[in-house]
Each structure stands twice: as C-alpha cells, then as structure tokens.
Symmetry: C2
Subunit: 188 residues, 2 copies
C-alpha cells in the first residue's frame, strides 16, 4: 500500500473479528515498529504481545467502564502492550538534557505509528489506547522497575471501519517564519 494512502485511510478500529493473527503477520508489524527512529538510536521501546484471553480480560478492566476501547481489547485476538525503558531517551551521560525530561513518549509513539501503518497495509486494524490504569497493567504483566507501560494497542481484522473524524484545516495549524504569521507562496 502506498504510504500516503496508508496515512490517509488508516482509522482507529474498535470492533474486531475473532480471526487469529498469525506469527508471520505479527512479525511484520513488529518489524515495522523496530525500524522507527529514536533518540540517539536508544530504541527504548518494548512490546508485550498478549493473546491469552484471561489476561486480555484483566487488562480491559484497567480501562474505565464507559471506555469503548474496553470491548476492543477483549475482542481483538492480539493486544500489543507498548512499554518504554525510562532514563535513556532524552538523556545524555545519564541526565535528561531538555525541558521535556524523559522523551520515551515521543519514541514509543514513533514505533507504534509504524506498527499501526504496517498493520493497516496488511488489512489489519489498531487503535491507540492511552487512558487506563498503567500501574495496574504493570502489575498484571510483571513489568519491572525502570520500564513503564505507555499504551495498549489492540490488533486484529476490522469488523467495522468508522468514518474519519474531521481534521482542522492546515491554515489553523501552520505558521510561517514566526508564530501567528500566515501565508503560503514564499517557496523560492
């Protein structure tokens, strides 16, 4: 699939078919994640692949009862739990060097986005789930000190593909040579 098509047609999938996701497909999407760029090539991401239905059920209960992603976690045959080793991204010689502190959120997002674009190109769906009790997920999966759970990402074949939510026009998000300065047409 063309990269522009993948970017524009990828949707957040919250209804999944029970069809299994084989190891071959799983390897392809994790391989895409692996090729993301990262702070000084530190590759702070780790992924826990959850297929066990009881574990998925427990993990779904770390979301609020009204969260529609709860069903998605139970339904999708695979749940990717994205983790980050802390204290490396955004760091130099053991100390954070920017006003953002640990950069792990940034780098894990890059890897997960590769994963979701690759999944979409293979006919699978994903959704970013960020609103859940991460401490509880860390307990359930035995995640050690120094590693944090960032997101839950269901992975499976879509049962329903929603319409794209509207996006703001480019004019509202793009400035030129200074904040609040508008205007295209200075391309030379």
């Amino acid at each position: 699939m063309d990269v522009f098509e993948a970017i524009k047609t990828r949707r957040s999938i919250r209804k999944y078919k029970p069809d299994p996701v084989g190891d071959d497909v799983l390897k392809e999407v994790l391989e895409a994640a692996r090729w993301a760029p990262s702070w000084a090539n530190t590759q702070c991401w780790e992924f826990i692949v959850v297929r066990d239905p009881q574990t998925k059920k427990k993990l779904s209960e770390t979301l609020g009862p009204g969260n529609p992603a709860r069903g998605a976690i139970e339904e999708a045959p695979v749940l990717i739990v994205a983790c980050a080793r802390t204290g490396v991204s955004g760091f130099y010689k053991g100390s954070p060097v920017t006003d953002k502190g640990d950069f792990f959120m940034f780098d894990v997002a890059l890897a997960l986005h590769n994963l979701s674009l690759a999944a979409h190109a293979l006919g699978l769906g994903t959704v970013h789930v960020g609103f859940f009790n991460a401490k509880r997920v860390e307990e359930i999966l035995g995640v050690p000190e120094g590693v944090r759970v960032v997101e839950l990402m269901p992975l499976g074949y879509p049962l329903e593909v929603p319409k794209p939510p509207s996006r703001k026009p480019l004019e509202e998000m793009v400035h030129f040579d200074g904040y609040g300065k508008k205007g295209w047409g200075k391309s030379t």
Copy 2:
C-alpha cells in the same frame, strides 16, 4: 512508495542540497501530518515553517556547538518547528487522566512521523532534532503561553544518505503474555 519500503528506507538526513522546497511539496507533507491520529482527536500539534535564512541561523544556535544537526538546520531550505498546545492531549474535562500527564509528546510524534514518511516518499529528507534550548526557540519565534516547542525538523533534498544504524533484534524487545516471557508460535 510502499509503506513498508518507506518505513525501512527512511534515514535521518543531516546533509542537504540547497534546492528549494516548493509550496506544493510542503502542503503534501503537512497534509500527511494533519492525518495523524490524536488523543480524542484533539490535534494539539502546530507547525512553524521557517524559510528565512537569518531565522534559521538563530534557531541553529539554540543547539549545542557540537551537535551535527546544527549544520542541517542552516543548510536545509525549510525548517519545520513542531509545537504543541498543552492541556488537551491526555486530558479529560480539563484535567490530566493518566500517570503520564500531558500526552503532547506522543501526539506530536505521530504527526511528525507521518510528515517524515511522506517527505521520504517524495524524495526529501528530514531528521528529528530534540536536543536544543526550547525556551530560546519560543522567544525567537514568538510562541505564546500554552504552546511549547517540541522538535526542530529540517526538510530538504538529501545531499548524503547515511547507512542505517543497527537495530536491536526483535527477540530483545518482544515479550509474550507477560514481561520477560519469550516464544513465538502461539498464533491460533
């Protein structure tokens, strides 16, 4: 360009040709960024497109003198300054709802990654620059309260394409049904 090819062949470009980047190309890559997913579709990202050489020079000086990206910022015809409106991503009814606080780093990363993949597909190069004095950049560009500068991303035609830095093997970053548990082959 195929999405897997784009993901695997995109490199971090630090040497650029002086060839200009036209508005048509700029719109295409910003359009790709615009289609990134975001927390509750809040789209917290904003982009300042800097073409003015004096402004680029000033911005390059917000990096440490030994940072190789300093030259890239001066050389590339366009610098994309990625910003985030704070207090929306990761928030619900005005309060942050996860242990990560503001999620802006995550969402801006998604948008920038779309931008860099789209640029690569069009024959352009980019590099993530996260290590610079963000406060100083905010002053130079007049970025208001409530908006933070996250990254500087040079954009232009590559003069040199480096070899890919090595990646850890999948085995080191993937666990199954619990942290530290290994093993493929449970696909059904």
